[in-house]
Protein backbone atom coordinates (compact mmCIF):
# COMPACT_ATOMS: atom_id res chain seq x y z
CA UNK A 1 0.00 0.00 0.00
CA UNK A 2 0.95 3.59 -0.50
CA UNK A 3 3.54 4.84 1.94
CA UNK A 4 1.69 8.14 2.12
CA UNK A 5 -1.62 6.63 3.21
CA UNK A 6 -3.62 8.65 5.70
CA UNK A 7 -4.28 6.70 8.87
CA UNK A 8 -6.72 7.43 11.65
CA UNK A 9 -5.02 6.87 14.96
CA UNK A 10 -7.83 7.90 17.30
CA UNK A 11 -9.31 4.73 18.75
CA UNK A 12 -12.85 6.09 19.16
CA UNK A 13 -13.05 7.27 15.54
CA UNK A 14 -11.54 4.01 14.32
CA UNK A 15 -14.09 2.03 16.33
CA UNK A 16 -16.99 4.06 14.97
CA UNK A 17 -15.75 3.56 11.43
CA UNK A 18 -15.28 -0.18 11.94
CA UNK A 19 -18.73 -0.55 13.50
CA UNK A 20 -20.26 1.50 10.69
CA UNK A 21 -18.66 -0.68 8.04
CA UNK A 22 -19.71 -3.89 9.77
CA UNK A 23 -23.26 -2.64 10.22
CA UNK A 24 -23.68 -1.47 6.65
CA UNK A 25 -22.02 -4.56 5.16
CA UNK A 26 -24.32 -6.74 7.30
CA UNK A 27 -27.30 -4.79 6.01
CA UNK A 28 -26.22 -5.36 2.40
CA UNK A 29 -25.67 -9.07 2.99
CA UNK A 30 -29.02 -9.32 4.78
CA UNK A 31 -30.76 -7.80 1.75
CA UNK A 32 -28.92 -10.18 -0.59
CA UNK A 33 -29.60 -13.40 1.29
CA UNK A 34 -32.98 -12.17 2.55
CA UNK A 35 -34.35 -11.69 -0.94
CA UNK A 36 -32.99 -15.03 -2.09
CA UNK A 37 -34.50 -16.76 0.98
CA UNK A 38 -37.83 -15.04 0.39
CA UNK A 39 -37.95 -16.22 -3.21
CA UNK A 40 -36.86 -19.75 -2.37
CA UNK A 41 -39.65 -19.86 0.24
CA UNK A 42 -42.19 -18.41 -2.20
CA UNK A 43 -41.29 -20.82 -5.00
CA UNK A 44 -42.13 -23.87 -2.86
Amino acid sequence: MSASETQILNAAVKRRIRNGVLGLASLALAFYFGFIALLVYRSH
Binding site: S2, S4, N10, G20, L24, A28, F31
Partner: protein, 531 residues
Protein backbone atom coordinates in the same frame (compact mmCIF):
# COMPACT_ATOMS: atom_id res chain seq x y z
CA UNK B 1 -13.71 16.94 18.57
CA UNK B 2 -11.28 19.42 17.09
CA UNK B 3 -8.45 18.14 19.23
CA UNK B 4 -9.47 14.55 18.67
CA UNK B 5 -9.36 14.84 14.94
CA UNK B 6 -6.28 16.98 14.66
CA UNK B 7 -4.27 14.67 16.87
CA UNK B 8 -5.98 11.49 15.74
CA UNK B 9 -5.05 11.52 12.09
CA UNK B 10 -1.58 10.94 10.79
CA UNK B 11 0.21 9.73 7.73
CA UNK B 12 1.77 6.34 7.52
CA UNK B 13 5.00 8.07 6.78
CA UNK B 14 5.11 11.76 7.41
CA UNK B 15 8.13 12.16 5.16
CA UNK B 16 6.11 10.99 2.15
CA UNK B 17 3.85 13.90 1.37
CA UNK B 18 4.26 13.31 -2.34
CA UNK B 19 2.55 10.59 -4.36
CA UNK B 20 4.39 7.46 -5.46
CA UNK B 21 5.74 7.63 -8.96
CA UNK B 22 4.81 5.59 -12.03
CA UNK B 23 2.25 2.82 -12.12
CA UNK B 24 2.53 2.19 -8.36
CA UNK B 25 0.85 5.51 -7.71
CA UNK B 26 -2.30 4.27 -9.44
CA UNK B 27 -2.24 0.53 -8.70
CA UNK B 28 -1.75 1.00 -4.98
CA UNK B 29 -3.55 4.33 -4.71
CA UNK B 30 -5.17 5.08 -1.39
CA UNK B 31 -5.40 8.86 -1.78
CA UNK B 32 -8.96 9.98 -2.41
CA UNK B 33 -7.85 12.44 -5.10
CA UNK B 34 -5.95 9.77 -7.06
CA UNK B 35 -8.83 7.30 -6.79
CA UNK B 36 -11.31 10.02 -7.77
CA UNK B 37 -9.21 10.78 -10.83
CA UNK B 38 -9.10 7.09 -11.79
CA UNK B 39 -12.88 6.80 -11.45
CA UNK B 40 -13.41 9.88 -13.62
CA UNK B 41 -10.98 8.77 -16.34
CA UNK B 42 -12.53 5.28 -16.33
CA UNK B 43 -15.99 6.81 -16.60
CA UNK B 44 -14.94 8.99 -19.55
CA UNK B 45 -13.50 5.96 -21.38
CA UNK B 46 -16.73 4.02 -20.77
CA UNK B 47 -18.75 7.06 -21.91
CA UNK B 48 -16.96 6.95 -25.26
CA UNK B 49 -17.26 3.14 -25.59
CA UNK B 50 -20.99 3.24 -24.73
CA UNK B 51 -21.32 6.27 -26.99
CA UNK B 52 -19.67 4.43 -29.89
CA UNK B 53 -22.31 1.70 -29.50
CA UNK B 54 -25.01 4.39 -29.59
CA UNK B 55 -23.52 5.76 -32.81
CA UNK B 56 -23.80 2.34 -34.46
CA UNK B 57 -27.40 2.04 -33.20
CA UNK B 58 -28.31 5.47 -34.60
CA UNK B 59 -26.51 4.72 -37.89
CA UNK B 60 -28.55 1.55 -38.28
CA UNK B 61 -31.74 3.47 -37.53
CA UNK B 62 -30.88 6.30 -39.95
CA UNK B 63 -33.14 4.70 -42.51
CA UNK B 64 -35.49 1.70 -42.62
CA UNK B 65 -34.15 -1.71 -43.54
CA UNK B 66 -31.04 -3.47 -42.32
CA UNK B 67 -27.83 -1.67 -43.33
CA UNK B 68 -24.96 -2.07 -40.92
CA UNK B 69 -25.65 -4.73 -38.31
CA UNK B 70 -27.79 -7.82 -38.08
CA UNK B 71 -30.72 -7.77 -35.63
CA UNK B 72 -28.94 -9.93 -33.05
CA UNK B 73 -25.91 -7.64 -32.92
CA UNK B 74 -28.26 -4.64 -32.79
CA UNK B 75 -29.90 -6.03 -29.67
CA UNK B 76 -26.51 -6.85 -28.18
CA UNK B 77 -25.50 -3.23 -28.77
CA UNK B 78 -28.63 -1.75 -27.16
CA UNK B 79 -28.26 -4.06 -24.15
CA UNK B 80 -24.59 -3.35 -23.59
CA UNK B 81 -24.90 0.36 -24.40
CA UNK B 82 -27.28 0.60 -21.43
CA UNK B 83 -25.20 -1.53 -19.07
CA UNK B 84 -22.01 0.38 -19.92
CA UNK B 85 -23.57 3.84 -19.68
CA UNK B 86 -25.37 3.11 -16.38
CA UNK B 87 -22.80 1.03 -14.51
CA UNK B 88 -19.64 2.12 -16.33
CA UNK B 89 -20.11 5.79 -17.13
CA UNK B 90 -22.72 7.52 -14.94
CA UNK B 91 -22.26 5.69 -11.62
CA UNK B 92 -18.43 5.70 -11.62
CA UNK B 93 -18.44 9.38 -12.60
CA UNK B 94 -20.49 10.24 -9.52
CA UNK B 95 -18.28 8.00 -7.35
CA UNK B 96 -15.25 9.80 -8.79
CA UNK B 97 -16.76 13.19 -7.96
CA UNK B 98 -17.63 11.90 -4.47
CA UNK B 99 -14.07 10.69 -3.94
CA UNK B 100 -12.58 13.99 -5.01
CA UNK B 101 -15.03 16.33 -3.34
CA UNK B 102 -16.60 14.82 -0.23
CA UNK B 103 -13.43 14.74 1.90
CA UNK B 104 -12.51 18.24 0.73
CA UNK B 105 -16.02 19.58 1.31
CA UNK B 106 -16.37 18.22 4.84
CA UNK B 107 -12.80 18.89 5.95
CA UNK B 108 -11.66 15.24 6.12
CA UNK B 109 -8.09 14.20 5.25
CA UNK B 110 -9.25 11.29 3.08
CA UNK B 111 -12.04 8.73 2.76
CA UNK B 112 -12.47 6.66 5.91
CA UNK B 113 -11.45 3.40 4.20
CA UNK B 114 -8.73 4.19 1.67
CA UNK B 115 -7.71 0.59 0.93
CA UNK B 116 -11.29 -0.51 0.35
CA UNK B 117 -11.57 2.55 -1.88
CA UNK B 118 -8.70 1.23 -3.99
CA UNK B 119 -10.37 -2.19 -4.21
CA UNK B 120 -13.76 -0.64 -5.17
CA UNK B 121 -12.16 1.07 -8.11
CA UNK B 122 -9.91 -1.71 -9.38
CA UNK B 123 -12.81 -4.18 -9.53
CA UNK B 124 -14.39 -2.06 -12.24
CA UNK B 125 -11.84 -2.43 -15.08
CA UNK B 126 -12.03 -6.21 -14.62
CA UNK B 127 -15.84 -6.16 -14.57
CA UNK B 128 -16.09 -4.14 -17.77
CA UNK B 129 -13.34 -6.02 -19.59
CA UNK B 130 -15.34 -9.15 -18.82
CA UNK B 131 -18.57 -7.52 -19.98
CA UNK B 132 -17.05 -6.23 -23.23
CA UNK B 133 -15.35 -9.56 -23.93
CA UNK B 134 -18.80 -11.19 -24.13
CA UNK B 135 -19.05 -9.84 -27.69
CA UNK B 136 -16.34 -12.31 -28.69
CA UNK B 137 -17.61 -15.55 -27.15
CA UNK B 138 -19.85 -18.09 -28.94
CA UNK B 139 -23.44 -16.91 -28.92
CA UNK B 140 -22.36 -13.29 -28.52
CA UNK B 141 -23.14 -10.79 -25.80
CA UNK B 142 -26.40 -10.53 -23.90
CA UNK B 143 -29.14 -9.26 -26.19
CA UNK B 144 -32.27 -9.37 -24.02
CA UNK B 145 -32.09 -5.78 -22.82
CA UNK B 146 -30.34 -4.36 -19.73
CA UNK B 147 -33.34 -5.45 -17.67
CA UNK B 148 -32.29 -9.10 -18.19
CA UNK B 149 -35.89 -10.28 -18.22
CA UNK B 150 -36.26 -14.07 -18.26
CA UNK B 151 -36.92 -16.22 -20.18
CA UNK B 152 -35.22 -14.17 -22.93
CA UNK B 153 -32.07 -13.51 -20.89
CA UNK B 154 -31.80 -17.24 -20.11
CA UNK B 155 -31.28 -17.83 -23.85
CA UNK B 156 -27.98 -15.91 -23.77
CA UNK B 157 -25.10 -18.09 -25.00
CA UNK B 158 -21.78 -18.85 -23.36
CA UNK B 159 -21.45 -15.25 -22.23
CA UNK B 160 -24.24 -15.58 -19.64
CA UNK B 161 -22.06 -16.41 -16.60
CA UNK B 162 -19.60 -13.70 -17.65
CA UNK B 163 -22.42 -11.16 -17.72
CA UNK B 164 -23.71 -12.24 -14.30
CA UNK B 165 -20.21 -12.18 -12.79
CA UNK B 166 -19.58 -8.72 -14.26
CA UNK B 167 -22.84 -7.46 -12.72
CA UNK B 168 -21.86 -8.95 -9.36
CA UNK B 169 -18.50 -7.19 -9.49
CA UNK B 170 -20.14 -3.87 -10.39
CA UNK B 171 -22.52 -4.33 -7.46
CA UNK B 172 -19.74 -5.17 -5.00
CA UNK B 173 -17.81 -2.11 -6.15
CA UNK B 174 -20.87 0.14 -5.74
CA UNK B 175 -21.70 -1.22 -2.28
CA UNK B 176 -18.13 -0.77 -1.04
CA UNK B 177 -18.09 2.77 -2.45
CA UNK B 178 -21.40 3.53 -0.74
CA UNK B 179 -20.22 2.17 2.62
CA UNK B 180 -17.10 4.32 2.31
CA UNK B 181 -19.12 7.47 1.62
CA UNK B 182 -21.46 6.90 4.57
CA UNK B 183 -18.77 6.17 7.17
CA UNK B 184 -16.66 9.07 5.89
CA UNK B 185 -19.50 11.56 6.18
CA UNK B 186 -20.74 10.23 9.52
CA UNK B 187 -17.32 10.07 11.20
CA UNK B 188 -14.88 12.41 9.55
CA UNK B 189 -16.57 15.78 9.25
CA UNK B 190 -14.54 18.73 10.52
CA UNK B 191 -15.43 19.95 14.02
CA UNK B 192 -18.42 22.26 13.87
CA UNK B 193 -19.68 20.95 10.54
CA UNK B 194 -22.98 19.52 11.63
CA UNK B 195 -25.12 17.72 9.08
CA UNK B 196 -27.22 20.76 8.24
CA UNK B 197 -24.10 22.80 7.50
CA UNK B 198 -22.85 20.13 5.12
CA UNK B 199 -22.79 21.05 1.39
CA UNK B 200 -25.68 19.75 -0.69
CA UNK B 201 -23.43 17.57 -2.86
CA UNK B 202 -22.27 15.63 0.20
CA UNK B 203 -25.88 15.41 1.41
CA UNK B 204 -27.12 14.09 -1.92
CA UNK B 205 -24.38 11.45 -1.87
CA UNK B 206 -25.16 10.41 1.72
CA UNK B 207 -28.74 9.64 0.70
CA UNK B 208 -27.64 8.02 -2.57
CA UNK B 209 -25.24 5.76 -0.67
CA UNK B 210 -28.08 4.43 1.50
CA UNK B 211 -30.10 3.77 -1.67
CA UNK B 212 -27.17 1.83 -3.13
CA UNK B 213 -26.77 -0.35 -0.06
CA UNK B 214 -30.47 -1.12 -0.05
CA UNK B 215 -30.92 -2.02 -3.72
CA UNK B 216 -27.66 -3.32 -5.20
CA UNK B 217 -27.88 -6.54 -3.13
CA UNK B 218 -31.40 -7.05 -4.47
CA UNK B 219 -30.11 -6.96 -8.06
CA UNK B 220 -27.27 -9.27 -7.05
CA UNK B 221 -29.77 -11.71 -5.52
CA UNK B 222 -31.97 -11.64 -8.63
CA UNK B 223 -29.11 -12.28 -11.06
CA UNK B 224 -27.73 -15.04 -8.81
CA UNK B 225 -31.10 -16.76 -9.13
CA UNK B 226 -31.04 -16.24 -12.91
CA UNK B 227 -27.69 -18.00 -12.83
CA UNK B 228 -29.12 -20.97 -10.92
CA UNK B 229 -32.08 -21.08 -13.33
CA UNK B 230 -29.60 -21.22 -16.21
CA UNK B 231 -27.11 -23.75 -14.82
CA UNK B 232 -28.61 -25.62 -11.88
CA UNK B 233 -32.09 -26.44 -13.17
CA UNK B 234 -33.92 -24.25 -10.66
CA UNK B 235 -37.06 -22.52 -11.89
CA UNK B 236 -37.39 -19.35 -9.90
CA UNK B 237 -38.14 -17.28 -12.98
CA UNK B 238 -38.15 -19.73 -15.85
CA UNK B 239 -41.76 -20.42 -16.88
CA UNK B 240 -40.66 -23.64 -18.64
CA UNK B 241 -40.17 -25.16 -15.18
CA UNK B 242 -43.10 -23.44 -13.50
CA UNK B 243 -41.19 -20.32 -12.51
CA UNK B 244 -42.57 -16.80 -12.44
CA UNK B 245 -40.91 -14.32 -14.85
CA UNK B 246 -43.10 -11.49 -13.55
CA UNK B 247 -41.56 -12.01 -10.12
CA UNK B 248 -38.17 -11.23 -11.69
CA UNK B 249 -39.62 -8.00 -13.06
CA UNK B 250 -40.82 -7.02 -9.58
CA UNK B 251 -37.40 -7.68 -8.07
CA UNK B 252 -35.55 -6.06 -10.94
CA UNK B 253 -37.58 -2.86 -10.71
CA UNK B 254 -37.40 -2.82 -6.91
CA UNK B 255 -33.71 -2.31 -7.69
CA UNK B 256 -34.21 -0.48 -10.99
CA UNK B 257 -36.35 2.42 -9.91
CA UNK B 258 -34.15 3.52 -6.99
CA UNK B 259 -31.26 3.03 -9.44
CA UNK B 260 -32.71 5.87 -11.51
CA UNK B 261 -32.49 8.10 -8.44
CA UNK B 262 -28.99 6.83 -7.67
CA UNK B 263 -28.09 8.32 -11.05
CA UNK B 264 -29.88 11.64 -10.54
CA UNK B 265 -29.65 12.58 -6.83
CA UNK B 266 -25.89 13.36 -6.93
CA UNK B 267 -26.62 15.51 -10.00
CA UNK B 268 -29.19 17.38 -7.89
CA UNK B 269 -26.40 17.96 -5.36
CA UNK B 270 -24.05 19.33 -8.04
CA UNK B 271 -26.71 21.68 -9.42
CA UNK B 272 -27.38 22.88 -5.87
CA UNK B 273 -23.68 23.83 -5.63
CA UNK B 274 -23.34 25.41 -9.06
CA UNK B 275 -26.46 27.61 -9.22
CA UNK B 276 -25.75 29.58 -5.99
CA UNK B 277 -22.13 30.22 -7.09
CA UNK B 278 -23.10 31.72 -10.44
CA UNK B 279 -26.15 33.51 -9.02
CA UNK B 280 -24.02 34.95 -6.20
CA UNK B 281 -26.74 34.09 -3.71
CA UNK B 282 -27.11 31.35 -1.11
CA UNK B 283 -29.19 28.35 -2.12
CA UNK B 284 -32.86 29.13 -1.58
CA UNK B 285 -34.43 26.76 0.98
CA UNK B 286 -31.33 24.63 1.56
CA UNK B 287 -32.94 22.61 4.35
CA UNK B 288 -36.04 21.93 2.28
CA UNK B 289 -33.74 20.71 -0.51
CA UNK B 290 -32.35 18.07 1.87
CA UNK B 291 -35.83 16.98 2.87
CA UNK B 292 -36.85 16.89 -0.79
CA UNK B 293 -33.92 14.60 -1.69
CA UNK B 294 -34.77 12.33 1.25
CA UNK B 295 -38.46 12.27 0.22
CA UNK B 296 -37.59 11.38 -3.38
CA UNK B 297 -35.30 8.61 -2.12
CA UNK B 298 -38.03 7.19 0.13
CA UNK B 299 -40.70 7.34 -2.59
CA UNK B 300 -38.34 5.65 -5.06
CA UNK B 301 -38.77 2.41 -3.07
CA UNK B 302 -42.52 2.19 -3.46
CA UNK B 303 -43.16 3.04 -7.11
CA UNK B 304 -41.41 0.22 -8.99
CA UNK B 305 -44.72 -1.18 -10.28
CA UNK B 306 -45.11 1.73 -12.73
CA UNK B 307 -42.58 -0.05 -14.96
CA UNK B 308 -44.95 -3.01 -15.16
CA UNK B 309 -48.43 -1.61 -15.78
CA UNK B 310 -48.70 -3.45 -19.10
CA UNK B 311 -47.95 -6.78 -17.37
CA UNK B 312 -51.37 -6.60 -15.82
CA UNK B 313 -51.98 -6.01 -12.13
CA UNK B 314 -54.95 -5.37 -9.85
CA UNK B 315 -56.62 -1.98 -10.22
CA UNK B 316 -55.73 -1.07 -6.63
CA UNK B 317 -52.05 -1.73 -7.38
CA UNK B 318 -52.23 0.34 -10.56
CA UNK B 319 -53.76 3.25 -8.63
CA UNK B 320 -51.20 2.91 -5.83
CA UNK B 321 -48.21 2.98 -8.17
CA UNK B 322 -49.70 5.74 -10.32
CA UNK B 323 -50.46 8.06 -7.41
CA UNK B 324 -47.20 7.53 -5.56
CA UNK B 325 -45.27 8.06 -8.80
CA UNK B 326 -47.07 11.35 -9.29
CA UNK B 327 -46.34 12.25 -5.67
CA UNK B 328 -42.62 12.30 -6.54
CA UNK B 329 -43.38 15.42 -8.58
CA UNK B 330 -43.96 17.30 -5.30
CA UNK B 331 -40.41 17.09 -3.81
CA UNK B 332 -38.98 17.35 -7.34
CA UNK B 333 -41.04 20.49 -7.85
CA UNK B 334 -39.72 21.86 -4.53
CA UNK B 335 -36.21 21.43 -5.91
CA UNK B 336 -36.94 22.99 -9.30
CA UNK B 337 -38.69 25.99 -7.72
CA UNK B 338 -35.92 26.42 -5.13
CA UNK B 339 -33.27 26.41 -7.87
CA UNK B 340 -35.31 28.98 -9.79
CA UNK B 341 -35.75 31.08 -6.64
CA UNK B 342 -31.98 30.88 -6.05
CA UNK B 343 -31.45 32.59 -9.40
CA UNK B 344 -34.22 35.13 -8.85
CA UNK B 345 -32.65 38.61 -8.62
CA UNK B 346 -29.23 37.01 -8.47
CA UNK B 347 -26.23 38.48 -10.20
CA UNK B 348 -26.04 35.80 -12.85
CA UNK B 349 -23.05 34.95 -14.98
CA UNK B 350 -22.92 32.21 -17.54
CA UNK B 351 -19.71 30.24 -17.25
CA UNK B 352 -19.79 26.63 -18.53
CA UNK B 353 -20.89 25.02 -15.23
CA UNK B 354 -23.81 27.46 -15.00
CA UNK B 355 -24.77 26.81 -18.64
CA UNK B 356 -24.88 23.06 -18.02
CA UNK B 357 -26.82 23.61 -14.78
CA UNK B 358 -29.40 25.77 -16.59
CA UNK B 359 -29.75 23.20 -19.38
CA UNK B 360 -30.18 20.55 -16.69
CA UNK B 361 -32.96 22.59 -15.11
CA UNK B 362 -34.95 22.93 -18.34
CA UNK B 363 -34.26 19.56 -19.95
CA UNK B 364 -34.43 17.35 -16.86
CA UNK B 365 -37.82 18.92 -16.22
CA UNK B 366 -38.94 17.81 -19.69
CA UNK B 367 -37.86 14.26 -18.77
CA UNK B 368 -39.78 14.61 -15.51
CA UNK B 369 -42.94 15.71 -17.29
CA UNK B 370 -42.83 12.83 -19.77
CA UNK B 371 -42.33 10.60 -16.73
CA UNK B 372 -45.57 11.95 -15.30
CA UNK B 373 -47.29 11.09 -18.58
CA UNK B 374 -45.94 7.54 -18.35
CA UNK B 375 -47.18 7.27 -14.76
CA UNK B 376 -50.78 7.57 -15.96
CA UNK B 377 -51.90 3.95 -16.28
CA UNK B 378 -54.16 4.17 -19.37
CA UNK B 379 -51.68 6.42 -21.17
CA UNK B 380 -48.84 4.05 -20.30
CA UNK B 381 -50.65 1.24 -22.08
CA UNK B 382 -50.17 3.25 -25.27
CA UNK B 383 -46.64 4.54 -24.60
CA UNK B 384 -45.27 1.26 -23.22
CA UNK B 385 -42.43 -0.28 -25.28
CA UNK B 386 -42.38 2.67 -27.69
CA UNK B 387 -39.75 5.28 -28.45
CA UNK B 388 -41.62 7.64 -26.11
CA UNK B 389 -40.13 5.70 -23.22
CA UNK B 390 -36.68 5.88 -24.85
CA UNK B 391 -37.07 9.67 -25.21
CA UNK B 392 -38.24 9.97 -21.58
CA UNK B 393 -35.40 8.16 -19.89
CA UNK B 394 -32.76 9.64 -22.17
CA UNK B 395 -33.98 13.13 -21.22
CA UNK B 396 -33.59 12.15 -17.57
CA UNK B 397 -30.18 10.54 -18.01
CA UNK B 398 -28.39 12.62 -20.67
CA UNK B 399 -29.31 16.26 -20.06
CA UNK B 400 -30.12 15.17 -16.49
CA UNK B 401 -27.42 12.94 -15.06
CA UNK B 402 -24.69 13.49 -17.68
CA UNK B 403 -25.15 17.29 -17.89
CA UNK B 404 -25.05 17.25 -14.07
CA UNK B 405 -21.71 15.43 -14.21
CA UNK B 406 -20.41 17.86 -16.85
CA UNK B 407 -21.53 20.82 -14.72
CA UNK B 408 -19.62 19.27 -11.80
CA UNK B 409 -16.49 18.59 -13.84
CA UNK B 410 -16.44 22.13 -15.29
CA UNK B 411 -17.12 23.54 -11.79
CA UNK B 412 -14.33 21.71 -9.95
CA UNK B 413 -11.80 21.08 -12.77
CA UNK B 414 -9.83 24.28 -12.02
CA UNK B 415 -9.75 23.26 -8.35
CA UNK B 416 -8.37 19.81 -9.27
CA UNK B 417 -5.78 20.91 -11.83
CA UNK B 418 -4.92 24.42 -10.63
CA UNK B 419 -5.59 25.76 -14.13
CA UNK B 420 -8.54 27.53 -15.70
CA UNK B 421 -9.75 25.76 -18.82
CA UNK B 422 -10.47 27.18 -22.25
CA UNK B 423 -13.84 28.92 -21.67
CA UNK B 424 -14.57 29.38 -25.38
CA UNK B 425 -14.05 25.71 -26.14
CA UNK B 426 -16.07 24.66 -23.08
CA UNK B 427 -18.95 26.96 -24.05
CA UNK B 428 -18.80 25.61 -27.61
CA UNK B 429 -19.03 22.12 -26.12
CA UNK B 430 -22.04 23.24 -24.11
CA UNK B 431 -23.94 24.83 -26.99
CA UNK B 432 -23.32 21.92 -29.36
CA UNK B 433 -24.36 19.44 -26.65
CA UNK B 434 -27.45 21.39 -25.61
CA UNK B 435 -28.67 21.85 -29.18
CA UNK B 436 -27.96 18.37 -30.47
CA UNK B 437 -29.18 16.51 -27.40
CA UNK B 438 -32.60 17.93 -28.26
CA UNK B 439 -32.25 17.15 -31.97
CA UNK B 440 -31.33 13.62 -30.88
CA UNK B 441 -34.01 12.87 -28.32
CA UNK B 442 -36.97 15.21 -28.85
CA UNK B 443 -38.10 13.60 -32.15
CA UNK B 444 -38.18 10.26 -30.34
CA UNK B 445 -41.27 11.52 -28.47
CA UNK B 446 -43.04 11.91 -31.82
CA UNK B 447 -41.85 8.50 -33.00
CA UNK B 448 -43.13 6.86 -29.83
CA UNK B 449 -46.49 8.60 -29.96
CA UNK B 450 -46.80 7.49 -33.60
CA UNK B 451 -46.24 3.92 -32.48
CA UNK B 452 -42.60 3.09 -33.25
CA UNK B 453 -41.53 0.24 -30.95
CA UNK B 454 -38.18 0.33 -29.13
CA UNK B 455 -35.37 -2.24 -29.42
CA UNK B 456 -35.80 -2.87 -33.17
CA UNK B 457 -33.19 -2.41 -35.94
CA UNK B 458 -35.81 -1.89 -38.67
CA UNK B 459 -39.04 0.10 -38.79
CA UNK B 460 -41.96 1.10 -40.99
CA UNK B 461 -41.21 3.81 -43.56
CA UNK B 462 -43.50 6.43 -41.99
CA UNK B 463 -40.97 6.74 -39.13
CA UNK B 464 -38.06 7.57 -41.46
CA UNK B 465 -37.93 11.37 -41.26
CA UNK B 466 -37.79 11.73 -37.49
CA UNK B 467 -35.33 8.84 -37.27
CA UNK B 468 -33.03 10.64 -39.70
CA UNK B 469 -33.28 13.83 -37.65
CA UNK B 470 -32.62 11.88 -34.45
CA UNK B 471 -29.58 10.14 -35.97
CA UNK B 472 -28.10 13.43 -37.23
CA UNK B 473 -28.55 14.83 -33.72
CA UNK B 474 -26.89 11.71 -32.33
CA UNK B 475 -23.83 11.96 -34.57
CA UNK B 476 -23.41 15.66 -33.82
CA UNK B 477 -23.91 15.15 -30.07
CA UNK B 478 -21.42 12.29 -30.08
CA UNK B 479 -18.82 14.27 -32.04
CA UNK B 480 -19.20 17.31 -29.79
CA UNK B 481 -18.17 15.22 -26.77
CA UNK B 482 -14.65 15.08 -28.23
CA UNK B 483 -14.45 18.76 -27.27
CA UNK B 484 -15.10 17.75 -23.65
CA UNK B 485 -12.06 15.47 -23.69
CA UNK B 486 -9.96 18.19 -25.38
CA UNK B 487 -10.93 20.80 -22.75
CA UNK B 488 -10.02 18.40 -19.93
CA UNK B 489 -6.66 17.37 -21.44
CA UNK B 490 -5.73 21.01 -22.18
CA UNK B 491 -6.66 22.00 -18.63
CA UNK B 492 -4.52 19.24 -17.11
CA UNK B 493 -1.56 20.25 -19.28
CA UNK B 494 -1.68 23.93 -18.36
CA UNK B 495 -3.53 27.20 -18.54
CA UNK B 496 -4.15 30.34 -16.58
CA UNK B 497 -3.55 29.79 -12.86
CA UNK B 498 -6.71 29.23 -10.85
CA UNK B 499 -7.17 30.96 -7.51
CA UNK B 500 -8.22 29.11 -4.35
CA UNK B 501 -11.81 30.31 -4.69
CA UNK B 502 -11.70 29.69 -8.49
CA UNK B 503 -15.08 31.33 -9.11
CA UNK B 504 -15.77 34.88 -8.04
CA UNK B 505 -19.09 33.91 -6.57
CA UNK B 506 -17.98 30.72 -4.78
CA UNK B 507 -19.75 30.74 -1.44
CA UNK B 508 -18.04 29.11 1.52
CA UNK B 509 -20.52 26.25 1.93
CA UNK B 510 -17.96 23.57 1.18
CA UNK B 511 -14.42 23.67 2.52
CA UNK B 512 -12.89 22.86 -0.86
CA UNK B 513 -12.63 26.56 -1.65
CA UNK B 514 -10.40 27.16 1.39
CA UNK B 515 -7.74 24.90 -0.15
CA UNK B 516 -5.24 25.95 -2.80
CA UNK B 517 -5.84 25.09 -6.47
CA UNK B 518 -4.68 22.39 -6.95
CA UNK B 519 -5.11 21.22 -3.37
CA UNK B 520 -2.15 19.64 -1.57
CA UNK B 521 -1.81 15.88 -1.98
CA UNK B 522 -2.88 15.50 1.65
CA UNK B 523 -5.47 18.08 2.58
CA UNK B 524 -6.88 18.82 6.04
CA UNK B 525 -4.31 16.77 7.94
CA UNK B 526 -5.25 19.13 10.75
CA UNK B 527 -9.02 19.43 10.92
CA UNK B 528 -10.34 22.94 10.31
CA UNK B 529 -12.76 24.51 12.77
CA UNK B 530 -16.18 25.47 11.40
CA UNK B 531 -17.82 28.31 13.23
Amino acid sequence: MAQTLSSGIAHHDDHHDQPDTGIKRWLFATNHKDIGTMYLVFSLIMFFIGGAMAMVIRAELFQPGLQLVDPVLFNQLTTNHALIMIFGAVMPAFVGLANWMIPMQIGAPDMALPRMNNFSFWILPFAFTLLLSTFFVPGGAAAGGWTLYPPLSLQTGDSFPMLIFAIHMMGISSIMGAINVIVTIMNMRAPGMNLLKMPLFAWSWLITAYLLIAVMPVLAGAVTMLLTDHFFKTSFFNPAGGGDPVMFEHIFWFFGHPEVYIMILPAFGIISEVLPTFSRKPLFGATSMIYAIASIAFLSFIVWGHHMFADGMPLAAQLFYMMYTMLIAVPTGVKVFNWTATMWRGSLSFEPPMLFALAFLFLFTIGGFSGLMLAIVPADFQYNQTYFVVAHFHYVLVPGAIFGIMAGVYYWLPKWTGHMYNMTLAKTHFWLSAIFVNVLFFPQHFLGLAGMPRRIPDYAVQFTDWNMVSSIGGFAFGASQILFAIVIVQCIRGGRKATSAVWEGALPTGLEWTLSSPPPYHSFTIAPEIL
